[in-house]
């Protein structure tokens, strides 16, 4: 990540943003494809054999295979959901690869020399610092001379996790951070206890498919009372062509613990749309707190809307214990299609859920995103701040549910939904669903729609900023509340991304 060694961001856009944008000027930065990395594919299509193959590649126990097969059987009877405000061409689910991994990863490398240099090259291009690359490749001693602010990284390349950094140091604190395939092998009791308890295998079409074919992802367990000593981060990259990426993330914050988790995504430019259907489950016990931040920068397709990632993701946090807290922050700038509703089940009394979102859709991108706040416990609180930005021919929908159950006495929700339009061909939609089933709860909803104003741009330009700087400044101002909710490293990257993804949208 380029922003690792950056200094703190103060307010709104900063000079650094402008510089970053200038550096990155031009189109999608992560659009190269590493076609010459030798890949190991399972045959196209999905069926019980493929499910079994994925399971055996990951050396899974029987119970895991059974779980997958049950999900697959259920999936066969399900149909694609079509309630979202999205126009998506039919996906031929039998024409995709469900498993692809770099050949060099068949046996985990013991030293840097054993890692395919092309794979390392990919990390380098992604901006993951060189030393972390060494750690990712498992080189001993590499952990000792890193900068003070540490971020542990798990990198997932197509179907497999290629390495996790700082595992030893995290272990000292009792934190488990590894790939989910490793967790299934090493910590089966934990996985068994929690997997599928927040997003059950029957949840929805994409989540069920994911349950059957997920190939890898990240696993985090923070034991009681432990404050995770560093940020945890996962990088997902889809590289192989015609490949679906189905990663599964499971985060458990035990009583009184705290963890901040970052997720970043990129993909190469391809003419053909690629499918990404991930599931993230978070379990938060009594007095624990989890922050989950995403900067989603999947390839959005070209200016004519060709190619790009179809992003169908199910993310849900279960605030099981009393006074537990979860905060989702997402910056969605990529994907041709985004279908994503990170949700909070506020089960524990006095638990809190927050959702901060920036969704940017330019050219022919479509985004249907929002959240669900399900208030079950007493005095639960939720807050939603959604900033949707549409430019070009894009359509951007906020869809959110706030539900106050009969027992959720004296609960509160505050929702703020702002939409910003750039140009006259795009659309912004707000679809709030509100259910209140008790008489002591309070729900507030505010929504605004505005356009980037020519007068604002002229004002900025008359002070010496060029048009792109001016747009970046105005838009970052619009997004400020959400950018402030991001961890520092991500805030920098997010600001730059906001500017880049809107390039060419004015003038």
């Amino acid at each position: 990540m380029t922003a690792l060694d950056q200094v703190e961001v103060k307010e709104g856009v900063d000079q650094e943003t402008v510089d970053a944008v200038a550096q990155l000027s031009g189109a999608y930065k992560y659009g190269w494809n590493d076609d010459d990395i030798e890949m190991d594919y399972a045959p196209k299509g999905v069926n019980p054999d493929i499910v079994a193959l994925i399971s055996s590649k990951n050396e899974e126990p029987q119970w895991m295979l059974d779980w997958r097969q049950a999900a697959f059987t259920r999936w066969e009877g399900m149909s694609v959901p079509n309630w979202a405000m999205l126009k998506v061409a039919d996906i031929d689910f039998q024409d995709l690869y469900y498993y692809a991994r770099p050949k060099s990863m068949e046996v985990k490398p013991k030293s840097l020399d054993e890692v395919d240099p092309k794979l390392l090259e990919t990390y380098k291009k992604l901006g993951i610092p060189l030393k972390e690359q060494a750690i990712l490749a498992g080189v001993e001693g590499a952990e000792n001379d890193l900068p003070e602010r540490k971020v542990a990284v798990d990198a997932v390349f197509d179907s497999v996790s290629v390495g996790t950094t700082f595992q030893a140091e995290l272990k000292k604190a009792g934190v488990i951070f590894c790939s989910i395939s490793e967790a299934i092998r090493e910590y089966p009791e934990l996985v068994k206890k929690y997997l599928g308890t927040v997003v059950p295998p029957s949840d929805n079409f994409y989540a069920t498919l994911n349950s059957a074919v997920f190939s890898d992802g990240s696993f985090v367990y923070v034991p009681p009372g432990v404050r995770c000593p560093m940020e945890l981060s996962t990088y997902f990259r889809i590289n192989a062509e015609n490949t679906g990426q189905f990663e599964r993330t499971l985060i458990i914050a035990d009583k009184g613990s705290y963890v901040s988790y970052l997720e970043g995504c990129t993909a190469p430019k391809r003419d053909v749309a690629q499918l990404h259907a991930a599931v993230v489950e978070i379990i938060i016990e009594e007095d624990a707190e989890v922050k989950y931040s995403t900067v989603q920068n999947w390839y959005p397709g070209d200016e004519e809307g060709k190619g790009g990632i179809y992003n169908f993701v199910t993310k849900r946090a279960d605030c099981r214990g009393a006074r537990s807290k979860v905060m989702w922050t997402q910056v969605e700038t990529g994907s041709a299609v985004t279908w994503k509703y990170p949700s909070c089940i506020l089960r524990g009394d006095d638990s809190q859920g927050e959702f901060y979102s920036i969704a940017i859709a330019n050219n022919y991108q479509q985004a249907d995103t929002g959240t669900k706040m399900v208030h079950l416990g007493k005095r639960t609180k939720s807050r939603i701040v959604s900033k949707g930005i549409s430019a070009g021919h894009a359509q951007n929908t906020y869809r959110g549910l706030v539900s106050m159950h009969p027992k959720a006495k004296e609960s509160r929700n505050y929702t703020q939904c702002d939409s910003l339009l750039i140009g006259s061909q795009c659309g912004a939609h707000t679809v709030p669903y509100i259910e209140v089933k008790n008489n002591s709860s309070r729900v507030e909803h505010e929504a605004t729609t505005s356009k980037v104003d020519d007068d604002q741009l002229f004002y900025c330009r008359s002070r010496g900023m060029d048009e792109e700087e001016a747009v970046a400044l105005v838009v970052n101002g619009f997004c400020k509340e959400v950018l402030q909710a991001l961890p520092m490293e991500f805030a920098m990257e997010a600001q730059a991304l906001v500017a880049i993804s809107l390039e060419g949208s004015v003038g």
């Binding site: 103060k10 307010e11 709104g12 856009v13 900063d14 000079q15 402008v18 104003d453 020519d454 007068d455 604002q456 002229f458 004002y459 900025c460 330009r461 008359s462 002070r463 010496g464 900023m465 060029d466 048009e467 700087e469 400044l473 105005v474 970052n476 101002g477 619009f478 997004c479 400020k480 509340e481």
Partner: protein, 251 residues
Amino acid sequence: MLEIKGLKVDLEEEEKSILKGVDLTVGAGEVHAIMGPNGSGKSTLSYVLSGKDGYEVTEGSATLDGADLLDMEPEERAAAGLFLAFQYPVEIPGVGNMTFLRTAVNAQRKARGQDELSAGDFLKEVRARAKDLKIDAEMLKRPVNVGFSGGEKKRNEILQMAMLEPKMCILDETDSGLDVDAMKLVSEGVNALRSEGRSFLVITHYQRLLDHIKPDVVHIMSNGRIIKTGGPDLALEVENNGYADLLAEAE
């Protein structure tokens, strides 16, 4: 410094001529005032010089130190040393005043091939300038012009001017909406910036601003033309007699 010759300008949207041949020369270090009745084209002149969209120059030229202003983008004019203090400064929600200033200062420095001001130097500079204009730290943190009073907005314009150090400053009715104290504060801010190398074009309806910012030359504008040019006394004449006599004289 600023040289305008035979400038004719139409509105882009409709066939309407606003400026009908303006000639104006402002020398280095001079302060010129433009007065005139509503609709005479004063604000249009300031917008055309700073490069706002919506106007079409049909004839004439405008140069700053010999460089063709009309050929430049608004940001290039700014980097060349032109500054417009807006009559109605624009609000930019969510963008801190300090961030805005720093982005602007560094954008101009970059355009001129200078190094960016470090965060420390910038802070020192902005605090000193803000203090002179009685702009407190709180106001520097607030989003640009959002929730500012009329007086605060105008003081903020002068702060921007002080930070950007332009050669040619245009003040478009900077006195409108100001009470006596605020006008004094703003005028002091402007006067502090007067120097040999810096010129001002002060657009105003009222003589009272010119009591504080003493002009070298006063122009009267009417119906898209400058109809009379004189010394500071000309402003007093307008104050006492109105524009009627001057307009009649011009016809």
